[in-house]
Symmetry: C2
Subunit: 261 residues, 2 copies
DNA sequence: TCCATCATGTGGTCAGACCACAGCGCGGTC
DNA sequence: GACCGCGCTGTGGTCTGACCACATGATGGA
């Protein structure tokens, strides 16, 4: 494997050596697909591959890297899972594997799985949610434009509908918060906001369905949403942030089953 | 594809119907490996699979799901990339594929790639860093224990060494901030702090090497680190948060190349 | 009793084949 | 000449079956 003529080198990738005792780090013998990932990643890190670029066909990549097509495909799957690559079948124009830019779906899947595995506690996730969204709300109050406000109003209307289902309410609720985050202008914030909401979707829906005082809760949430909207529309940044934090805390408290999992 | 006798079923997976106009959502025909992921994910979501559990052998899983082993392996790769699964070769005890819990490495890889692809701007990432770390510092000031303080002091000593290399300094710097985040007690925060630092490692190191006034910069950073440490050790939460925010902003400003990429 | 050896079961890798799909170009038809 | 249909081609998608590398644990001899 070392004499693989194509990969530049098996660079030690040692990295950190915070002290003399940190030397003799365990050797890591990479598997085939990891080497393929490294090869593609190098191209990305050096800027040789940018969003939109097409990769060589799987068969060619395999023969160039001297690995099987299966190894190449496993590497592509991983980078696809990160939202970095995308594959399309067919021929000509749109076909092939190319560099993509879809971090949000990957983040959602990632967080959803780890929340389900309890690798992150719900309180932690909610704490992160408050942190992100109060900042986003504040930013949104300063930067929001007419189109975003219209979208927010549309979502408020969906939630205000008297016959709205709990599921539809939750989806509009999610979209409302994500839209605010997007209006804040920070893509990382809005993607993480979406991912956090996606990771909480199942427990929230469960709590929504079980709760007896649904109409009361929905009423409170509606009021708070309208308050947040007005603060953002009027450009009152600090108030938008505070209302958002209060709103999220209230929502979490009203759904006690949320924390019992 | 429809008449493929092997897949159990192409269940619609429709799901949300927020309104009448949301009907007729595009059909999504999943690929084999996605179906395998869904199958494993279902087990995780329902709690049938928890951290530490062993999956059936690849060959058995393939025959049970009526797919090829390659398809199973691609699915396992993806979940491995998310830090949800891990595979070990061999036989008996430690061998096989089992449910894991290593979100941090996955988060690092993810963010590093997307920052390299400029899907997230550096300012966004730094904004997120400030948000997370100021909160972590505040939490750490309230909850820190002796062991964590000792570790922080050790890292300070590494950075204080007069002959420390710029790379070693940066690695200790990273470890210092991650240790604070960990002391804060929120795993999501500390994992994200680590991921953000990892995603910035290359640009930071580049800036470190190019900068002429290294000793001045290092001196400032050392001072600020000691200040943050004292505030945390003394339990002054607000001050720790403020100093951290100031520190990060200062570090970003001192490295102007950071924003030019 | 201990140690070397082999059998077994696991993931890791490979080669080769075929399928499904989408574009492109050729050729026939109007 | 313009249009349509059909097959050719190259792409990813999938499957099969084989073999390798590795760690364990059982087996059997010293």
């Amino acid at each position: 494997m070392v004499d693989m003529a194509n990969n530049d080198e098996v660079r030690p990738h040692r990295g950190r050596a915070t002290g003399a005792d940190a030397a003799w780090a365990p050797v890591t013998r990479s598997s085939t697909y990891e080497l393929v990932i490294d090869a593609i990643e190098d191209q990305i890190m050096t800027g040789a591959l940018v969003v939109g670029d097409l990769l060589p066909p799987e068969r060619e990549l395999a023969s160039r890297l001297r690995v099987s097509r299966a190894g190449v495909r496993e590497a592509i799957r991983v980078l696809e899972a990160y939202g970095v690559l995308r594959s399309e079948v067919g021929s000509g124009r749109g076909a092939g594997t190319f560099v993509s830019a879809l971090p949000s779906a990957a983040l959602e899947q990632f967080l959803r799985l780890h929340v389900a595995l309890s690798n992150f506690r719900l309180e932690e996730v909610i704490e992160a949610r408050i942190l992100l969204e109060r900042t986003s709300a504040s930013l949104a109050a300063e930067r929001v434009d007419a189109a975003a406000l219209a979208e927010l109003e549309r979502l408020l209307a969906v939630m205000d509908a008297p016959d709205v289902s709990r599921e539809a309410f939750n989806d509009a609720d999610t979209a409302f918060h994500v839209a605010i985050a997007r209006a804040g202008g920070n893509a990382l914030f809005s993607d993480m906001t979406g991912a956090i909401r996606a990771s909480l979707r199942a427990p929230i829906l469960e709590a929504f369905t079980k709760v007896a005082t649904w109409e009361d809760i929905a009423g409170t949430l509606r009021e708070q949403h309208h308050g947040i909207f007005r603060a953002i529309a009027d450009g009152r940044a600090d108030e938008a942030a505070e209302l958002t934090a209060t709103h999220i805390r209230a929502a979490s408290d009203m759904l006690p089953d949320l924390s019992t999992d």
